[in-house]
């Protein structure tokens, strides 16, 4: 359609100066109510969530004032002796989370790639449902599963690792792995087994994000790689994985953040031990969340403050991990492709 423009006859001057119609830019009353309501909801949530962060930070002042830097170097948690520190707990937390990620990362990556590039079309939606369902299963159930079903098998693997790789401090266990009747209880309730259970919660989180990013790999480049005679793995290696690098890193870190804060499954599996030790296969470790769950009940006010401080440190770590993850994920996907 072509727009027609009426040209004014040049000879006749305008009889009166043309006034632009006044436009009202103000909001309708209904919109004003709507905006006010939604804004106040936003402010309530902001105040609520902000208050939690401020409260946690505020609560940790007396603890840090009382214990100083010793709070971060002390391994024991003995409130009756006024010896409180989170060194061992933090190491345990990181150990469990790292074991979980070592298991979860390759599985999540391969499962996500399988869903997007390898699985037959009919299976695809079923596999996506599997991932979503896996994310929805409560952690207590993974804990019970890990304790009763996984542990009896996992201790054999732990023993095998310590038998052949015991010279490596990570896999060392303080017992004789070659004994005819080996001490099974030295291998149970370890950071390794807790990490295996936690990985079940990390896999779906990482996998869901990786799958989303893999799916967004540009179709033209995929087809170009295929047209050049690439195999499916060739396409994945040259197009999909380089495109999705940010999403892979982001998804992994998001899952790491979840693994760091996990409580119920860890609480069921580990037996508490307050010592910095790299031996992940050996019985006994402690994580921050398990420490809080185990000690809040008969804590005095100052001990509660110490527990809150431990939790605050954990929160800062997960926050840092999540923020880095968010940067990577944001860089790899945006809502720009959806505009009409």
């Amino acid at each position: 359609m072509t727009a027609t423009v009426d040209l004014l006859p040049p000879a006749t001057p305008p009889s009166e100066p043309r006034q632009p119609r006044r436009l009202s830019s103000g909001l309708q009353p209904s919109d004003r109510i709507f905006h006010g309501g939604v804004t106040s909801i936003g402010m309530v949530v902001l105040a609520l969530t902000g208050a939690i962060g401020l409260f946690l930070g505020y609560q940790s002042i007396p603890t840090l004032h009382h214990y100083g830097l010793r709070f971060f170097t002390q391994t024991q948690w003995l409130p009756q002796l006024d010896k409180i520190g989170i060194a061992a707990v933090l190491v345990g937390t990181v150990e469990v989370a790292l074991v979980a990620m070592v298991v979860a990362f390759p599985l999540a990556l391969m499962f996500a790639l399988f869903i997007t590039d390898y699985a037959p079309k009919r299976m695809k939606s079923w596999l996506i449902s599997t991932v979503d369902l896996m994310a929805a299963v409560p952690s207590i159930i993974y804990g019970l599963w890990g304790f009763f079903l996984l542990q009896p098998h996992a201790i054999n693997l732990a023993r095998w690792l310590s038998q052949y790789f015991g010279w490596f401090p990570l896999f060392h266990v303080d017992t004789d792995p070659n004994a005819a009747v080996w001490q099974q209880s030295r291998y149970t309730s370890s950071a390794f087994i807790a990490g295996l259970a936690v990985s079940m919660m990390a896999i779906p989180l990482a996998c869901a994000i990786m799958r989303g990013v893999f799916d967004q790999a540009p179709l033209g480049e995929r087809e170009a790689a295929m047209a050049l005679g690439g195999t499916r793995f060739g396409v994945a290696r040259t197009v999909v994985l380089p495109f999705a690098k940010g999403g892979v890193i982001g998804g992994t870190m998001l899952a790491l953040g979840r693994a760091l804060g996990e409580t119920a499954a860890v609480l069921i599996i580990i037996s508490p031990a307050y010592a910095i030790k790299p031996r992940v296969l050996e019985a006994g470790t402690q994580t921050t969340s398990a420490l809080i769950a185990g000690n809040f009940g008969n804590a005095t006010k100052s001990q509660l403050s110490a527990l809150l401080t431990a939790g605050f440190v954990l929160f800062l770590i997960t926050l840092a991990v999540n923020s880095v993850a968010a940067v990577f994920i944001r860089r790899s996907r945006s809502g720009t492709g959806t505009e009409i």
């Binding site: 909001l27 309708q28 209904s30 709507f34 309501g37 939604v38 909801i41 936003g42 309530v44 949530v45 902001l46 609520l48 969530t49 939690i52 962060g53 409260f55 609560q59 599985l107 391969m110 499962f111 399988f114 390898y118 596999l127 896996m134 994310a135 929805a136 299963v137 409560p138 207590i140 159930i141 019970l144 599963w145 009763f148 054999n156 095998w160 079940m200 195999t231 499916r232 793995f233 804060g261 996990e262 069921i268 921050t288 969340s289 809080i292 769950a293 809040f296 006010k301 809150l308 939790g311 605050f312 954990l314 929160f315 997960t318 926050l319 999540n322 923020s323 959806t338 505009e339 009409i340």
Partner: protein, 366 residues
């Protein structure tokens, strides 16, 4: 499916009819490929069976499977490389590894679900398990006594209150961040995003310290709901924001161009378009909240009697009951723990299926 057309043979003088052009199916496995895969599978099994169990006298299922996998990869690689170039060999080996990894993940989830139901089955067959509570029942009592009624009631009430609070707040925040875009929306987004990193136990401890220690309230179901809402609001707000953001801007502009007010645009165009995503976000948050163990452990504590009142007396819930029954280490109590877990898992499964159906329904209508 991409199909390639085979080049028709050049028509010769004495053949008037060219062969009909049939699309050639690409990426089809030839008989040789199939034999290579099946043969390597069986061959490696036989090799490992003899070598692992009868020559080296090893034992253990896990070791057997790992050795089988390694042998299979070597054998399959050699067999495929006889008649294929290197890229194809790599492709085949990667494919079989991906199948294996996926099978491991699916098996892990399947074993979790099946094992929970299998261990809980002895409790689930008794009707009293669903209709009675544990008041006056000791952990060692037979399964014909006591049940999880109080935990089901507690879970439903706690999650119900948490949902009633967190859904309007969460979706309202999402609307604020994407539609209204007020001055503080960037700050709200930052804070909400960082609050998704809050470990559940810390939300529980926060509510415990503020409400129970600070205001002197008793440990109740309401405290649990409050802590649950604290963890659910950021999840709903963030997932809801994503759902709202992918609503095409053209729809909003079309609505505004027709003279609709902003409120009408949001309520009649944006929210209905994003309904599937918002429902998914909500169900995701419910599934997360329903399985929280640490929060009821801290904020309410276990009780053995049925309590309908969220503001007085502690209230049990299914995950907490599973945990407390487990921690008695009594064989029958552990069966009850698995029974409670099975019911919890069933609830999650139902929620999950409902979410799927809702999403599919909306997708089909459009």
């Amino acid at each position: 499916m991409t199909t390639l057309y085979a080049v028709p043979p050049v028509a010769e003088a004495d053949t008037p009819r060219p062969a009909p052009r049939t699309p050639r199916r690409i990426r089809r496995f030839t008989a040789e490929d199939r034999f290579a895969a099946i043969g390597s599978f069986l061959g490696s099994l036989a090799l490992v069976y003899i070598g692992y169990l009868h020559i080296l006298y090893f034992s253990g299922v896990l070791g057997f499977l790992v050795c089988w996998y390694v042998t299979f990869m070597v054998l399959y690689g050699v067999v495929v490389s006889v008649s294929n170039p290197r890229p194809i060999v790599v492709e085949r080996l990667v494919t079989s590894t991906l199948y294996l990894a996926s099978a491991v993940v699916v098996l892990a989830l399947g074993s979790t679900v099946l094992y929970t139901f299998a261990k809980g089955w002895r409790a689930l067959v008794h009707l009293n398990f669903f209709t009675r509570d544990m008041a006056g029942v000791s952990p060692t009592a037979p399964l014909t006594q006591g049940g999880i009624f109080h935990a089901i009631v507690g879970t439903v009430i706690e999650v119900g209150i948490a949902v009633a609070v967190s859904v309007p707040l969460g979706i309202g925040t999402a609307v604020y961040m994407t539609e209204v875009r007020g001055r503080a929306s960037k700050l709200v987004r930052t804070i909400v995003e960082s609050m998704t990193a809050l470990p559940e136990i810390l939300a529980g401890l926060f509510v415990y310290v503020v409400l129970v220690i600070g205001f002197g309230l008793s440990k109740t179901g309401l405290a649990v709901s409050a802590a649950m809402a604290v963890t659910m609001i950021p999840i709903i707000a963030r997932a809801g924001e994503v759902a709202l953001r992918v609503v095409p801007g053209g729809l909003r502009e079309a609505s505004s161009a027709l003279g609709a007010t902003h409120w009408k645009t949001v309520s009649r165009v944006v929210l209905p378009s994003a309904a599937a995503g918002l429902v998914t976000a909500t169900i995701l948050a419910i599934a997360r909240g329903i399985g929280e163990t640490a929060i009821p452990l801290i904020c309410s504590g276990a009780s053995s009697f049925t309590n309908y009142d969220p503001v007085n007396e502690p209230m049990n819930s299914l995950p907490l009951m599973a945990y407390t029954e487990y921690s008695t280490h009594e064989p029958l109590a552990i069966v009850r723990a698995f029974g409670a877990s099975s019911v919890l898992l069933t609830m999650v499964l139902i929620l999950f299926v409902v979410a799927r159906l809702l999403v599919r329904d909306r997708g089909a209508r459009r």
